[in-house]
Amino acid sequence: MDKSEKLALGLSGLLLAAFFLALIYAQVARGIEVPTCITDVEPFTSDTLFQIDENEYELHMITRMWAFEPSSVTLPVGSTVHLYVTSRDIIHGFKIEGKNVNLMAVPQTINYIPVTFNEPGEYFFACHEFCGAAHHLMAGRIIITDNEEDLARADLPGGER
């Protein structure tokens, strides 16, 4: 190997090391995680929204051909949602618009990610794993609002089913 090759190799290695350290930084210093292996949650077969603290909710979501249950959830601004997802039939998945939430829903397993909504708005999500003939009709939304009437209509905790 000549000098320029060694330099190129060294710089390539440094570049990749810098990228990798950025991932570690995002995880350790900024707390941005990817889903991990969950073994301490009982399998669930119906969707439920629990209020566990003033601004904290636990949502058990079911995915099935071809709907999310619940397909729409209304919560106040500032809510943190502990989102648990499973599938009743085949593999589904979704990414919540504008949020660091992207989950695969695989039958016989539970996936989990926490997410906080500080901005009011409608957060749309579409099924993003092929799940059969009507896959492209499977979508849902999380509505974050300060409007008392909307929240009252949503009848927390329980949400719209």
């Binding site: 190129a8 990749l16 995002a26 889903p35 969950i38 039939d89 695989v106 039958p107 016989q108």
Partner: protein
């Protein structure tokens, strides 16, 4: 290195004719499917005249024919040619035919099952969606056929090593063996998935399947599959491109190091496709992410070595200054038309590689996983350098083995550049759409792209339309290629015997590096790392899945039994 001309006998000629022409028909069918998908998604058509109204059936056809069938056939055909040429030995034609026939029967079975609507499961065939058993059997035969081809080369390689002690194996052979060593190891988990899980479950011998385990075994195979596609293109980049450009390979050692690194790091990376999955510990996902960065290193080395080789060629051709050499390369030289396929692919791969590093970046994957970004990315890899190198070399081999002149060289030469424009437009639309949440594998036509639907997403429309424009240009360039290819097939045979000669490159820096001469230590290192990387993943999956799933049809939410 003296140039060598290999004589081609009749059996070899027929075999290679079959191995090159039939997959080209499959490829053209698959590309047709690709065009239809862009039209479906934009809502321009609701039914495809050939495949019918089911978008997902066409999508399965597109993925299976283009990414699995065409690529595997080509890798085998190219390997047959390279190994016999570079080692100057005759293939055992019986086994070469057995391999070809297995692949043909397998591909035909799988394609037929998709066509009659019994295998609408996409090319990842995730259970609990169930396909017809013959679909899985077809894929198995395709893979076993490629194994037989590889096993047929091993005795030749061992004989060559015995007869040439201490000599360096030709770099092209090192590359082909790297390709198939990775393939041989990586196809074992998918063979386990198919033979012990999918097939008995699909036939009704067992009732339930562990969907999470099957999916994990698929990706155990699914990412090294990517290198199975890429490595034959690397063989052409290292062994032939510098010579076509009129230069030398900057460093022979770099090429050997790159191939050995691919053996070690290609496989323990699969869960970077599963960052967003349940049932796998985040720490193991990060470990696979680390190995994915390691496998990016040989591609960065390649970028340097190839650029240096091309610079050497450009300067030899009279290029001056810092960038002047770039304008002296034979981009439009009819007699070196193959160069255009390689250089266009390399340019596309710059963007394919960068977007791939984004995908591999752990948390950053949250922003792109299963969005249209992903097909945007992989059309810059498998449908960039891989497709173009495979098409160019198919045409090259076809003309040599059939002893026919390449027809319409000007068109042959322009095709890669037209494709490049098309794929850049297509992928830009897909990737931008993906970043604002547009999902992949989704027929947006009737829903998200439909003004009358409650699900209408107006901000996605322009990106969906851009992908149509790109798709039309890409299809146009493939039509040009198909015309050139079949005009060559039906051209009048040249006088004299059929012969094969590869434009084999000489090295500029040539070092004798003993630790890069033998595959064995690298294969052992690979196996150790694979076991370390995958044991905890499989344990996690087994411990956190609660039972199995019955089979489902894509048509009906109720299980099939």
């Amino acid at each position: 290195m003296k140039s060598y001309v290999m004589k081609i006998d009749k059996s070899n000629r027929y075999l290679m004719g079959v191995l090159l022409i039939i997959p080209m028909i499959f490829l053209v069918l698959g590309v047709y499917g690709g065009l239809m998908q862009t039209l479906f998604r934009a809502g321009i058509i609701q039914s495809d005249p050939f495949m019918g109204p089911d978008y997902y059936k066409g999508l399965t056809m597109h993925g299976v024919l283009n990414a699995l069938v065409f690529t595997t056939f080509f890798a085998v055909a190219f390997g047959n040619a390279v190994v016999s040429y570079a080692l100057r030995m005759k293939l055992n034609m019986t086994w070469a035919w057995v391999s070809g026939i297995l692949m043909l029967v397998g591909s035909a079975l799988a394609t037929l099952m998709i066509y009659i609507g019994e295998a609408t499961v996409l090319y990842t065939f995730y259970p609990p969606l169930k396909a017809h058993p013959l679909f899985y059997i077809g894929l198995t035969l395709l893979v076993v056929g490629s194994w037989v081809a590889f096993w047929n080369w091993i005795p030749l390689y061992l004989k060559w090593r015995r007869e040439n002690p201490g000599e360096k194996t030709p770099l092209s052979v090192v590359g082909i063996f790297t390709t198939f060593i990775v393939w041989q190891i990586a196809t074992i988990p998918v063979a386990v998935e198919i033979l012990f899980m999918l097939l008995p479950w699909s036939m009704g011998l067992v009732n339930e399947i562990n969907a999470m385990l099957a999916r994990t075994l698929f990706w155990f195979f699914g990412h090294p599959l990517v290198y199975f596609w890429l490595l034959p293109a690397y063989v052409m980049y290292y062994s032939y491109m510098p010579k076509l450009a009129g230069g030398k390979l900057y460093s022979d050692m770099a090429g050997r190091l790159v191939f050995m690194m691919f053996i070690v790091f290609s496989i323990p990376v699969g869960t970077h496709h599963q960052y967003m999955d349940p049932a796998i510990g985040a720490q193991w996902k990060l470990l696979h992410g680390f190995f994915t960065f390691m496998v990016a290193l040989p591609s960065l080395i390649t970028a340097f070595t190839l650029a240096a080789s091309l610079e050497y060629a450009g300067r030899k051709r009279g290029g001056k200054g810092l960038f002047g050499w770039m304008f002296k390369l034979p981009y439009f030289d009819r007699d070196r038309w193959l160069f255009s396929y390689l250089i266009a692919g390399l340019v596309i791969f710059i963007f394919g590689g960068i977007s791939g590093i984004v995908n591999a970046s752990y948390q950053l994957n949250t922003a792109v996983h299963n969005t249209a970004w992903v097909p945007g990315h992989f059309h810059l890899t498998v449908a960039g350098p891989v497709l173009l190198a495979f098409m160019g070399m198919s045409l090259y081999l076809l003309s040599r083995y059939l002893n026919k002149p390449v027809k319409m060289k000007g068109w042959a030469l322009s095709m890669p550049y037209i494709w490049t424009i098309g794929v850049f437009i297509f992928s830009w639309g897909m990737m931008r759409g993906g970043l604002i949440g547009m999902p992949r594998r989704t027929n947006t036509g009737p829903s998200y792209a439909n003004q009358d639907s409650a699900l209408y997403q107006p901000e996605w429309i322009s990106y969906i339309d851009i992908s149509v424009v790109g798709g039309v240009i890409m299809t146009l360039s493939v039509v040009i290629f198909a015309v050139v290819f079949f005009a060559t097939v039906f051209a009048k045979q040249k006088e004299g015997e059929a012969t094969l000669e590869f434009p084999t490159t000489e090295p500029y820096h040539d070092e004798d590096v003993p630790w890069l001469k033998n595959f064995k230590p690298w294969v052992i290192a690979a196996i150790i790392i694979i076991v370390l990387a995958y044991t905890p993943v499989i344990i996690d999956v087994l411990q956190s899945t609660a039972g199995g799933s019955p089979p489902f049809s894509p048509e009906n939410p109720a299980p099939l039994r």
